[in-house]
Assembly symmetry: C2
Homo-oligomer: 121 residues x 2
């Protein structure tokens, strides 16, 4: 526990509480999980995507309806829906030429609810 151990991690920063850091390291998540979680929250970290997710939390809607709702282009909405689809936040069903989008599961709604609680208190 002497100061000489510093030689081991020359590049690393100084560290006051080595035991706490070790404990934190042992309880840490896998690196890939942080990145996947980050992608999930990042996808929800945009006002327009939240508008889409909130609307789809009420009922399924098609691309051009969402574009009308947001006041943005259908292309922009489509790009955002692709991202949300890739992360399994939404899914769709085709009816003729129209694709109806809806939330993939209840997690999204829960996340938004807890987020709102955080804001409102």
């Amino acid at each position: 526990m002497s100061g000489q151990e510093e030689k081991e991690d020359r590049c690393a920063v100084r560290c006051i509480h080595r035991d706490q850091v070790a404990r934190a390291r042992s309880k840490a998540l896998a690196s890939s999980e942080y990145e996947k979680l980050a992608a999930l929250f990042k996808a929800m970290g945009d006002g327009n995507r939240l508008r889409i997710l909130w609307a789809l939390g009420q009922e399924e809607m098609c691309v051009c309806d969402l574009a009308a709702l947001l006041g943005s282009s259908e292309s922009a909405v489509s790009h955002q829906l692709r991202l949300l689809r890739q992360l399994a936040l939404v899914k769709n069903r085709r009816e003729g030429q129209v694709l109806y989008y809806r939330l993939n599961d209840g997690h999204v709604h829960s996340l938004i609810q807890i987020g709102l609680e955080h804001l409102r208190e």
Copy 2:
């Protein structure tokens, strides 16, 4: 309800289900809430900040410990902590020269838990 109403919103996109859009509009959140929510999720949409939040979910830690844990500079950690502080995700307490950070409330942990559930199923 005739097609002539299109003149009203020339710039807007076409819209298939006007009633659904109207309903969605009536249930929508305030614009400021979407932006605040987006800021919250955006703050959680970064691997290193999630590492910080997860670690602080276990126990309070100081800046240089967090830097050692993440393997990044103290300056970078400090910048990120400022963002997390501004959004009330973390708070700190001073003990001498050392600032100990911890989660501000239970919401952060809940959000991460639900996020993990989403990933893992």
